[in-house]
């Protein structure tokens, strides 16, 4: 298949928002791209990587988002066009650097730098649904928010121009329903990359110090950008001259607002002011429109960012009616939490116009309610059949039980996070950010002098270990904390799409790269390290139990490749697995289904006996080890 760079100019393609952002960067002549994987942002860097050989763009998965931002910034200091992409949780990590970069700018002969941040309204694949737009204001970064894949491409290209013109990084805010949605995108030309990297050593140090004059320069920069934003084509108005109600929207709120106004037949009463350039806030444009109406509905995801600024502006604008009412999240016409959808906008709009908005006839609605109450059950996420984590957590559970001191794990971010769901072993008792499991364990591990006798086990994955767990582990060693770090090494950043990391043999382009050994790092800082294959449940349990009884900071590496990666590479089933129905004790036991919880090991509704689901079993054979009566059998496949 052709890559994104190989397509013809002028043609129209279906593209994910993330692919469109990547294409927009290529059409701007991007030369240098960095990031750390995280849903919903991963495909931006991956898309650029797929065409890297033909385009000559440098691409890397960095160790974490802060380093990704620093690496990209360096390239921009040397005059290149750079982009870094991350999800909102990772943006928090990068902010330490980006906060200062917002003051310093990109240096005397800087190139350009675009920071793409992908929010996850509703938290589909995140621990929060934070709205990153506030940070553009805090860091003094120009902020753009596209409403569709087409606009995402165009805005990204423009963001490079802005960055180069104003010598600062520009933030493009994406979100799940853009990044992971697909739509038609018309392709433009990809220019030849010509610019060579050169760093001007005659310039002053690129730094935010002194902060106050830097802050003044930042404000001047934003003031000079504002007139450009006031007349940007990414802001537009559609509707009557003096609308009965004005919708002010951004991002996906635009598409839903257009649909809602049409569905309710309010085209003659409602105007839509769509904003694409959000910071610096285009005050003149918004004030003009506020002056032409008495009612405003704000439609945006997630926080009332535009709503707050519109309210401040109304207070400051003499031409605005004293009776002006601004509705939205504060008034409850749009929910203050969760993602938007067209029905939400329709409901809010209908309420403001006193219209009846019923989704379905009462009779059908009743039938739906009955069926939902009687039949519909939740379908939670679960580890895949053959996933090493199921075996690893089984071993952790056995070890904690045998230790007998009411020990507990602290968790981290990755596929193993699924442990907290009903499908997991539900042992993890504290779960926050990347690397927090080790930091928390380092704290729990110092509580013996206050009477805490429970052992603590931190659990993190291999990519997470490199990303943010190493400082916490050094902290634990240095401060003599008693803890075990269980490092689940499945040779991939599995949850976000199997990306490589510093411990894997190849890089993002599939080329051999120096491998950094987790064992060597842990040993070099003074940890007792054990390594085990989690599919050897008994051996793994015994090793972990021994480590839990030792003083100090210990590391247990449970190593087995992600099953999805293995299956993709090998396309084999290691074992043929079957159940002897005579030996299976069925409902009287049901140990395997109740506790091991493998989706490929359900039970027969008539007989109550466990069965292997041939459509989903991958033949890992681990269930053989946990069946109490020994009714599950496996045979090595040829």
């Amino acid at each position: 298949m052709s890559t994104i760079a190989g397509t013809t100019t002028g043609t129209r393609e279906m593209m994910m928002g993330n692919e469109a952002i990547a294409r927009g960067a290529l059409e701007a002549g991007v030369q240098f791209v960095t990031g750390y994987p995280g849903t919903p942002s991963s495909e931006i860097v991956e898309t650029v990587a797929r065409s890297a050989r033909e385009t000559g763009v440098y691409v890397e998965w960095s160790i974490n988002e802060k380093v990704a931002a620093e690496v990209a910034a360096a390239a921009s200091f040397a005059g290149l066009r750079t982009l870094t992409a991350m999800k909102t949780a990772g943006f928090n990590v990068a902010l330490d650097f980006l906060a200062h970069l917002g003051y310093s700018g990109l240096g005397k002969h800087g190139g350009s730098m675009v920071v793409v941040v992908c929010d996850d309204p509703e938290g589909h694949s995140s621990g929060d649904e934070a709205d990153s737009r506030w940070f553009a204001q805090t860091e003094g970064a120009p902020l753009l928010e596209p409403d569709s894949p087409q606009e995402a491409k165009e805005m990204t290209t423009w963001a490079f121009e802005l960055s180069e013109q104003f010598n600062c990084y520009v933030m493009v805010r994406s979100y799940t329903r853009l990044s992971l949605a697909s739509g038609p995108v018309t392709l433009g030309r990809i220019p030849e990359i010509g610019k060579k990297a050169q760093f001007d050593t005659s310039q002053e140090t690129i730094s935010p110090y002194m902060p106050k004059p830097s802050h003044v320069r930042q404000h001047q920069r934003l003031a000079s950008i504002r007139p450009l934003f006031e007349r940007s084509r990414f802001n537009w108005y559609q509707g009557p001259e003096k609308p009965e109600l004005l919708i002010i929207c951004s991002g996906i709120g635009t598409r839903y607002s257009l649909e809602a106004v049409g569905a309710l037949g309010l085209e003659k009463s409602v105007g839509i002011l769509k904003l694409g350039t959000l910071w610096p806030f285009p005050t003149k444009l918004v004030a003009e429109h506020l002056a032409r109406t008495r009612r405003v509905l704000m439609v945006e995801e997630v926080d009332p960012f535009l709503e707050s600024h519109a309210k401040i502006l109304a207070f400051d604008s003499p031409a605005v009616s004293k009776d002006l009412k601004i509705y939205g999240k504060d008034s409850g016409h749009i929910p203050a939490e969760g993602e938007l959808n067209p029905s939400i906008v329709m409901k809010g709009l209908a309420e403001l116009f006193g219209l009846d908005y019923t989704i379905r006839e009462a009779d059908y609605e009743r039938k739906i309610s009955t069926a939902v109450d009687k039949l519909l059950i939740n379908r939670g996420v679960a580890w895949c059949p053959g996933c090493p984590h199921r075996a690893s957590f089984w071993a952790v559970k056995q070890a904690i039980r045998k230790d007998g001191r009411d020990g507990f794990p602290t968790g981290d971010i990755g596929c193993y996070t699924l442990d907290v769901y009903p499908s997991g072993s539900q042992q993890i008792k504290a779960l926050h950010a990347m690397g927090s499991g080790v930091g928390l364990a380092s704290g729990f591990g110092k509580l013996a002098q206050f009477g805490l006798e429970q052992p603590v086990v931190a659990i993190c994955g291999d990519s997470t270990f490199f990303h943010a767990s190493i400082p916490g582990l050094i902290n634990a060693v240095r401060n003599r904390a008693n803890m075990v770090l269980v490092l689940l090494d499945n040779s991939a950043t599995a949850m976000t799409g199997f990306q490589p990391h510093p411990g894997t043999e190849t890089d993002i382009l599939g080329e051999a790269a120096p491998v950094i050994s987790t064992e060597a790092i842990c040993r070099s800082i003074g940890c007792h390290v054990e390594v085990s294959d989690p599919f050897d449940i008994k051996g793994t349990t015994a090793k972990l139990l021994r480590l839990m009884k030792e003083d100090g900071t210990k590391v247990m590496i449970m190593r087995r490749i992600c099953e999805l990666v293995r299956m993709k590479e090998e396309r084999t089933f290691p074992f043929k697995v079957w159940i002897d129905a005579e030996k299976c004790r069925g409902e009287k036991c049901s140990f395997c289904t109740r506790f091991f919880k493998c989706p490929a090991l359900p039970w027969d509704r008539e007989t109550g006996k466990a069965v292997i689901d041939e459509a989903t079993c991958v033949g890992c054979g681990v269930c053989v080890e946990i069946c109490p009566p020994g009714a599950i059998f496996r045979e090595v496949t040829a």
């Binding site: 697909s182 039949l375 059950i377 996420v381 949850m495």
Partner: protein, 206 residues
């Protein structure tokens, strides 16, 4: 069946993470775009792909790119790779006119394995889907795929059934061309066989 008369046409594809609904939405999206339609697709990626309930909203317009999510109660056609997921989509997007096409092969949830939940009685589930649909079609595409030697092609069999219904503006030739363009020769052949089985199943009066 007759072609859907909708602006936009709202097609929903649902299933269980890992069943391959994304492949279907991609094939459909690309084929329709080539025919000049403006298509928006909203779907579940990330954590839900690990065995959770997944869906793709495909919105097909001749006029403008719509947002990627369908308004509640506004689906024209729901294609589901798992029956419980048909019901889930009906509860959100269903209406008395909606057509549903279901792979009637229940995938138990982990909460059912642990006896925390009970998977609904199959006959009752089928009855509910039937009652809540204007027209409901059922087939066991997983059984057909296993018979063909590979459960992975269940999704493409369902695609065949969808094409067989002839309700969206796509022909067999359109999808065949897209399959040939998207896969290596041997994988394309397997998928074309799967497509044919799905189309035949509808023709045979599923």
């Amino acid at each position: 069946m007759t072609r859907i008369n909708g602006e936009p046409i709202n097609l929903v594809i649902s299933g269980v993470g890992g069943q391959g609904n994304i492949l279907l939405s991609r094939l459909i999206g690309r084929s329709l775009l080539k025919k000049g339609y403006l298509v928006s697709i909203g779907e579940t990626l990330g954590v839900a792909q690990r065995g959770g309930a997944v869906m793709s909203n495909i919105r097909i317009s001749e006029k403008m790119p719509f947002g990627p999510l369908t308004p509640e109660g506004k689906a024209h056609l729901i294609v589901s790779l798992e029956p419980l997921e048909t019901l889930r989509m009906l509860s959100r997007y269903g209406n008395p006119e909606v057509t549903t096409l279901t792979n009637f092969r229940p995938t138990l949830t982990v909460d059912v394995l642990t006896r925390k939940d009970k998977y609904p009685d199959y006959a009752a589930l089928k009855q509910a889907i039937d009652t809540l649909s204007g027209t409901a079609f059922f087939l066991d595409a997983t059984a057909m795929a296993l018979k063909l030697g590979n459960p992975i092609i269940t999704n493409v069999i369902m695609m065949g059934a969808l094409i067989g219904l002839d309700m969206i503006p796509l022909t067999r030739e359109d999808i065949e061309a897209e399959i040939k363009a998207s896969f290596s020769a041997d994988r394309a052949e397997l998928n074309l066989t799967a497509l044919a089985h799905g189309i035949d199943a509808i023709a045979a009066g599923t």
